[in-house]
């Protein structure tokens, strides 16, 4: 149901018609068609595991469709490898960047396209600089990847495609790893790209981004195509309803907090970061039972170090941490877990899951060693399986083979739901949630937000770290703002606004700064 004016079929740069792809136990794509016009930003919207990434992997030659045809610029093609896709001018920015960390930007970009025996870094570097300026990417070609921010790394990925003369660019959930500022920059870059005649396919489940940049949007639900809408004339609520299959509320309903006794007490904490300088400086904060305290701040201002110090993943230089009255400053990670800490980690694939173990094993990864999951060192498989099934059902973790699926086979969103489920069902007195809804669709976000509030209402403490201000404001009862490793201020959510917090995030303290 394309609602834009009449256009000839020739203006389609990409046509995927009646694509079907099956995996063991699941139909990932069931008769999906996608038509992308020349010079448009075409969004693909769908829940986690709806089949968006599968569809794009087929277009990029990583999977082969069981049925259906692909046309590029009007010609039917067979794409059997990423190289074929590159030849056809299709480039992809993956969710997880594919960069060599100790290489420079230039080296990464020319990797695989060196041309000849001798490297011509100078010319390549010049070309990259020119491209960077043309599209407003502001990248220094001689920087080493490990020294630049995540946002810049993503721009390097974009440059990589441009360097290979791609004119159809696929962005796979590009904003999942970015700060709000970086997201704005990326949106601008995308607009620059289409202005120069490129076409963009944007895979996402964030409605505001679609609203901000996309022209049209194809909506997929559980492997089936629901429809194509014109973004300008469709509201976010309408799109959300199409995606989830029911109306969705964006606001979290919650009563005012009833703070009780202190659960987390962080006292003059100092923590070194990976570069051996203080990443957290003289940080003090309390979180009480029955309240959610959000930590706002731009990524890289000490939030990770703070969380790692509280959970025991990083040693504490000085200061003290206690949980529910137990001093855990120097306790082992397990002792801290037992003291009542639950932790939804920032990096789900690195910390959160053992990818080549089953979902069932992952559900008890913190609790396998005690009753009822084991006795005298022997695992009780039936208890573990029943428990895992329960968590999976409660948190709607979808996978091909249920709890016997390997965690690595789950889609990103389902992995996140599995982790959140594991941590919440364990019912910890203190739940530390770092980016708990990162990579999730609105339906799942709604559910997890509700659960976090419910956790609070049970009389537990929640420490929320998020780079999305909306989420912080939606959930927190108090907001602690971090800048450069220091606590700038703690404000009550009811007595502040995004403008004030934004200034605090930049390190400007007090009301006088706001005026």
């Amino acid at each position: 149901m394309p609602s834009k004016g009449v256009y000839s079929p020739m203006s389609h740069v990409i046509e995927m018609l009646h694509i079907r792809k099956e995996f063991p136990g699941i139909v990932a794509n069931d008769d999906i068609s996608l038509q992308v016009e020349q010079g448009e930003i075409h969004a693909i919207l769908g829940e986690n595991g709806a089949g968006k990434s599968t569809l794009m992997s087929i277009l990029f030659g990583l999977y082969h469709a069981d049925e259906g045809i692909i046309k590029v610029k009007g010609k039917e093609v067979k794409i059997s490898s990423p190289n074929d896709a590159t030849e056809l001018g299709i480039g992809m920015v993956h969710q997880h960047f594919q960069l060599v960390h100790n290489f420079t930007v230039t080296e990464n970009i020319i990797l695989g396209k060196e041309g000849g025996f001798f490297l011509d870094r100078r010319n390549a570097s010049k070309k990259i600089k020119a491209l960077s300026e043309k599209y407003g990417l502001s990248i220094d070609p001689d920087m080493v990847i490990e020294d630049i921010s995540v946002g810049m790394q993503q721009r390097v990925e974009i440059l990589k495609m441009l360097y290979r003369d791609a004119d159809i660019l696929i962005f796979d959930e590009p904003t999942a790893v970015l700060t709000p500022q970086e997201i704005d920059e990326l949106m601008q870059i995308m607009r620059n790209l289409v202005a120069e005649g490129k076409s963009i396919i944007l895979i996402t489940h964030k409605l505001d981004e679609i609203k901000a940049v996309a022209d049209r949007c194809t909506i997929i639900r559980r492997g089936k195509m629901i429809g194509v809408v014109d973004v300008a004339t469709t509201s976010q609520a309408q799109m959300a309803a199409m995606m989830v299959g029911r109306p969705v509320s964006f606001k979290v309903e919650k009563k005012t907090a009833q703070p009780g006794r202190v659960i987390l007490d962080v006292h003059h904490l100092n923590v070194m970061n990976s570069k051996k300088v203080l990443g957290v400086k003289d940080f003090s904060l309390t979180v009480r039972a029955g309240e959610i305290v959000g930590i706002a701040g731009v990524d890289g201002n000490g939030q990770s170090e703070l969380v790692e110090a509280i959970t025991g993943l990083r040693p504490i230089e000085s200061g003290a941490v206690s949980v529910a009255g137990t001093d855990v400053t120097h306790a082992s990670i397990r002792a801290r877990n037992e003291a009542g800490i639950g932790h939804i980690p920032e990096d789900r694939q690195k910390r959160g899951l053992v990818l080549n173990e089953t979902v069932a094993a992952n559900m008890v990864i913190k609790d396998y060693y005690h009753a009822p999951f084991s006795r005298h060192g022997l695992l009780k498989e039936d208890v573990i399986e029943t428990y895992a099934k329960d968590v999976v059902k409660q948190f709607d973790v979808r996978s091909g083979e249920g709890i016997f699926s390997l965690a690595g086979k789950l889609s990103g969103g389902n992995q996140q739901k599995a982790i959140v489920g594991r941590e919440m069902v364990a019912d910890p007195q203190l739940l530390i949630a770092v980016q708990p809804t990162r990579g999730l669709d609105v339906g799942a976000i709604e559910y997890i937000h509700k659960q976090l509030v419910l956790h609070r209402d049970k009389g537990h403490a929640v420490l929320l770290v998020s780079f999305e201000l909306d989420e912080i404001f939606n959930l927190s009862d108090r907001i602690a703002v971090m800048n450069n490793g220091e606590l700038v201020d703690v404000v009550k959510t009811s007595e502040t606004d995004e403008h004030e917090v934004g200034l605090l995030m930049a390190g400007v303290k007090g009301k006088e700064g706001a005026k």
Binding site: S332, I333, K350, R351, V354, K366, Y368, L379, E381
Partner: protein
């Protein structure tokens, strides 16, 4: 055990099929090689297999060879599961064997008690040789490949010094005095049963080890921890598992298993220790573990297979013009194919998919046919009865069991 979930019954590549493909291709490559040097491959294989299996004595020797390989394979596989590469099984074998030889020379006890002491000595010797690299890895992050190779040479030269100094034989400087048969793992009834072959009690030690290792990995919290550390140490750390302690424990157990391999080799298969020889089984065990997909039961079968090739190659050489190196080449080729098992996996998955699709089409056709039949039946039934809802039931039921292919997964 609880019920497994209802699943689509479908063909799926598994480790066994992959290993079998590797073996078959390895044998084919061996045949091509034999033909290339002008020998008759059929004759070559005939004598290779006959050499390993033709009579009860040779079967016994195959078992004796497999015993050592099985234990080394287990050692390597166990370390693999924890994400460690134990390339030091040779050194652990030497130390385990040396400890066992010392016990055999100096400890005289009633047989059952003696055997316990003998086995424990080898176990502890090997475990010591494994725990040192494990400790270095945990404490100083020294890579275990480097550390275990160093430990191999320390063991090698220790034996070189120790044997002539303390265990010198009556005639030769280069080997230890033979231990008495009664002090070895050989036992009369086994030797008799297999017509005087080398087979010994070590085979039972190895089989018990397979069972114990499988049990540890699958059923215990220790195995759970070891596998978690091996697959993702960051997640294991996050979950409160002591990563370093597990690295040490894993290397200790792996070393102990290789020590047992030394026991079966030096006090069972042989009865003395030669100096200046690094036991090649320590490296063959890597092959055994790879072919067995690091699975204890897989290791059992792959060690039997390699044991047969090892013990048959001499006979093949004696009876034909095929050099014994062909057997080693076959082993090497099998390893090569095992290492590239991803290709087989793709191949078999492709086959499986085609078969599934074909069967689904058949099922669909069958369903359509059944539905038609059912409708006619229902139509007939409907005539005398009153309502269509009654008449529809038989048709639903008749479709139900046939459509096992879709299993309700696609309910939108």
């Amino acid at each position: 055990m609880s019920k497994k979930p209802k699943q689509k019954k479908e063909f799926k590549s598994n480790d066994f099929l992959i290993a079998l493909s590797a073996v078959v291709l390895g044998l084919i490559a061996g045949a091509v090689l034999m033909a290339a040097i002008g020998s008759n491959p059929f004759e070559g294989f005939l004598y290779l297999f006959r050499g390993g299996l033709m009579n009860i004595e040779r079967i016994g020797n195959t078992l004796a060879t497999a015993t050592t390989l099985m234990l080394v394979g287990l050692s390597v596989a166990f370390a693999f599961k924890t994400g460690l590469f134990n390339i030091g099984a040779s050194g652990q074998m030497l130390v385990g064997g040396l400890c066992a030889t010392l016990v055999a020379h100096h400890v005289f006890l009633p047989r059952p008690l003696y055997l316990v002491v003998l086995i424990l000595s080898a176990l502890l010797g090997g475990a010591l040789w494994g725990v040192i690299p494990g400790f270095l890895k945990a404490k100083f992050n020294v890579h275990e490949v480097v550390a275990t190779i160093m430990m191999n040479w320390i063991a090698y030269w220790s034996v070189y010094y120790f044997v002539p100094a303390y265990l010198k034989g009556p005639s030769l400087e280069t080997e230890s005095a033979s231990i008495a048969v009664t002090q070895s793992l050989r036992t009369e009834w086994l030797t008799k049963m297999f017509h005087g072959s080398y087979v010994n009690l070590g085979i039972f030690v190895a089989i018990v080890a397979v069972i114990i290792v499988k049990f540890i990995l699958d059923k215990t919290t220790l195995g759970f921890e070891l596998k978690a550390v091996g697959s993702n140490r960051f997640c294991a750390e996050y979950a409160g598992i002591k990563v370093n302690r597990n690295v040490v424990v894993s290397m200790m157990i792996a070393g102990g298993l290789a020590g047992l391999a030394g026991l079966t080799f030096y006090t069972g298969y042989a009865r003395n220790m030669q100096i200046g020889v690094m036991p090649s089984q320590g490296f063959d065990g890597i092959a055994v573990a790879l072919l067995g997909a690091s699975n204890p039961v897989g290791v059992l079968f792959s060690s039997l297979f390699f044991g047969m090739l090892q013990s048959g190659k001499g006979f093949m050489n004696a009876m034909t013009s095929v050099p014994p190196e062909i057997a080693d080449t076959i082993i090497a080729t099998i390893i090569y194919f095992t290492a590239t098992s991803v290709l087989f996996k793709k191949f078999w998955d492709g086959v499986a998919r085609k078969m599934t699709i074909r069967r689904e089409k058949e099922v669909a056709a069958q369903e359509a046919q059944d539905a038609k039949d059912a409708q006619t039946v229902a139509g007939r039934l409907a005539e005398p009865s009153s309502g269509p809802d009654v008449s529809l039931h038989p048709s639903r039921e008749s479709i139900g069991p046939v459509s096992g292919g879709t299993d309700g997964k696609e309910v939108k």
